[in-house]
């Protein structure tokens, strides 16, 4: 049950953040979506042994965090919680990589380099996705998808799904509370009642969908999706996208940390 509460909390937390009024939040949603995609492609396109040249990509989340006035700790906690899968796959790299490298006189498996690279990439990409939603919000993101010519059927049901998640999770919480009060000391739902437990929820869901549809029809729903007022892409938005893209390309093209490092360590003669 705490899982249900956690996930409602998570969604509301990000939704509240997206309601802020900062320079980042005011940017056009489409521009933010495209910038995020450019960022993801930039990060992911690095080879598996790359670490130092990935680091300048930290600037993007840092700037968004501070400009959009987001709570760093609370958001990063969410990033840390995800992807046990990726750590699981990544941790196998040092085991399966036969080749070694010498780093500061110590022989280590090259797999540790790939592992670290994957972990950094994972952190950066997950942060970027969460930052997108935390600065944009689901409705405006839906509008951006419509501008990208994503069919309205898809956008509409995406937004409906999002809207009803908390409603149905609350319903599940109530059902689970009722169950646990009648079956004390049990973890989860017992095997013999799985079907009727989840099945009841389905029946309620179908009935709810019926009511939702009826009330939508009463309010004039004709299958059309209205995004409301979304301003056009202004010069400022365009400049934002262009500046970040340029930054990503430069950082992708040149290994700046290595250059800085060589400058200080005198690695270049």
């Amino acid at each position: 049950m705490s899982k249900a509460i956690n996930s409602i909390y998570n969604i509301r937390f990000l939704e509240e953040l997206s309601g802020k009024e900062t320079s980042i939040h005011r940017l056009h949603p489409l521009v933010k979506l495209l910038t995020t995609v450019a960022y993801l492609i930039g990060v992911v396109s690095f080879g598996r042994y790359e670490i130092s040249s990935l680091l300048p990509f930290v600037f993007y989340p840092v700037l968004i965090f501070s400009l959009a006035e987001l709570p760093v700790g609370k958001v990063l906690k969410r990033v840390l919680l995800v992807s046990p899968f990726i750590v699981g796959i990544g941790i196998l790299n040092p085991l399966f990589e036969q080749n070694t490298i010498i780093l500061g006189g110590i022989v280590i498996s090259r797999g540790w380099i790939t592992f670290l690279s994957i972990i950094i990439k994972c952190g950066l990409t997950v942060t970027a996705s969460i930052l997108l939603i935390a600065t944009t919000g689901m409705d405006r993101l839906g509008a951006a998808l419509r501008m990208l010519k994503v069919p309205k059927v898809f956008v509409l049901q995406l937004l409906l799904t999002y809207r009803y998640i908390s409603v149905l999770i609350e319903e599940v919480s109530r059902m689970q509370r009722a169950y646990s009060l009648r079956a004390p000391g049990e973890k989860g739902i017992r095997l013999s009642v799985w079907g009727s437990f989840a099945g009841q929820l389905i029946l309620r869901t179908f009935d709810r969908a019926q009511r939702v549809y009826q009330s939508m029809s009463l309010r004039g729903f004709t299958g059309e999706y209205n995004t409301g007022d979304i301003a056009k892409v202004r010069f400022k938005d365009f400049a934002y996208l262009a500046a970040w893209s340029l930054f990503f390309i430069i950082m992708r093209r040149y290994n700046i940390p290595m250059l800085i490092g060589s400058l200080f360590t005198g690695g270049i003669k």
């Binding site: 040249s53 196998l92 797999g111 049901q157 809207r163 989840a198 490092g261 200080f264 270049i268």
Partner: protein, 359 residues
């Protein structure tokens, strides 16, 4: 088995996105032709249902562990393959955005692995086939179990293939397959069992829901040929075009695709690239760093022959990499702190001004 962005290459991500988009476009067309707009709220609320149902922890007897449903096959049974696929797509998008469960770039991969194989392979070929002579409780059980297992097995195998094509891990193909398939066999059995009991319950309580869906899209109506053709075309066009561009013009696409900076000196091959490298020579104050350090004093042979994407490692470059990396991170943190402090100051000034004017 949600794939994260960190495990895939842009080429794989974009290609799978194109494949998924083609299936989604086909599904949307089908829905608009065959159904009324009534189905849209149902799809939306059912998507939310899967989310909610994932919060129900089922205790698995004898293991002490708990499982939850993935939902792909259940959605296909309740809504039909097209609406099921689209609903699964929006669930995965919300999971990626809000929970970091699966990446945005890997979104195409995830929809394909979790939605396509269940809705377009397992459902029509297995579930529909088993229940073709009418629905009974036994048939529902067998059909759900089989299609959940097969759907998950295919999805898991697809994860292996996508990961290997992306080349971000060291896992050998055989090991990865041996790791993924048995785990997902277990998950598939649980998923199949849950799906079967749930579908049986709904069928007993409200048989029209199950039967209507089953009538709506009989086996013949799903044109697998059309679906597969559109996927193949999308993959060939996008994947083929991107990868051939990458191989025909490796230097030009180097920054976007694979190679690491500093692998070797650049060979300028075409006009644009020549100008770029000229600019680089002017802009980069130390253009040949890795090459020169290699000849320099701390020359340490890499223990293995350098492979395709492995830059020559020696103490010089790794130390400067570490120093430079640390400095970059410090600089980034510093920038963030400065901006936050300035913002706070501004806010304080504003609030004091307000207080002042209020007085």
């Amino acid at each position: 088995m949600h794939m994260a962005d960190a495990l895939i290459s842009p080429l794989v991500g974009v290609t799978m996105m194109a494949a998924t988009a083609s299936v989604a476009a086909y599904s949307i067309k089908k829905i608009q032709n065959e159904m009324d707009e009534k189905k849209i709220p149902l799809m939306g609320v059912m998507g939310a249902f899967v989310f909610a149902a994932q919060m129900i922890n089922f205790s698995i007897p004898g293991t002490g562990s708990s499982g939850h449903i993935g939902g792909g096959i259940l959605l296909a049974i309740l809504l039909g393959p097209y609406a099921g696929f689209l609903t699964m797509s929006s669930i995965l998008l919300i999971q990626a955005l809000f929970f970091g469960d699966g990446g945005l770039l890997a979104y195409g991969c995830n929809v394909f692995n979790l939605g396509f194989f269940t809705c377009f392979i397992a459902y029509p070929l297995i579930y529909k086939w088993v229940t073709r002579k009418g629905v009974t409780a036994k048939r529902i059980f067998g059909a759900s179990m089989f299609s959940a297992i097969i759907g998950l097995q295919m999805g898991a195998f697809s994860v292996v293939l996508e990961t290997l094509f992306s080349g971000k891990t060291e896992l050998p193909f055989g090991t990865f397959v041996l790791l993924m398939q048995p785990i997902h066999l277990g998950i598939g059995v649980v998923e199949g069992f849950v799906t079967a009991t749930v579908v049986t319950f709904v069928w007993r309580a409200r048989p029209e829901i199950i039967e209507k869906t089953a009538m709506g899209e009989a086996l013949g109506n799903i044109s697998m040929r059309k679906v597969l053709t559109s996927i193949i075309i999308a993959v060939i066009v996008v994947g083929g075009a991107l990868s051939s561009f990458a191989s025909a013009n490796p230097d030009g696409l180097e920054w976007a695709m694979e190679k690491t900076a500093g692998t070797s000196e650049l060979k300028a091959s075409d006009g644009i690239h020549k100008t770029l490298s000229k600019i680089q020579n002017k802009v980069a104050f130390l253009p040949d760093y890795s090459f020169k350090t290699k000849v320099g004093k701390n020359k340490e042979e890499p223990t293995v022959q350098a492979e395709d994407s492995w830059p020559p490692i020696n103490a010089g470059t790794s130390v400067s990499g570490i120093v430079g990396g640390t400095l970059t991170l410090l600089l980034a943190a510093f920038t963030g702190i400065i901006i936050s402090v300035m913002k706070k100051k501004k806010r304080k000034e504003k609030s004091t001004l307000k207080e002042f004017s209020a007085r």
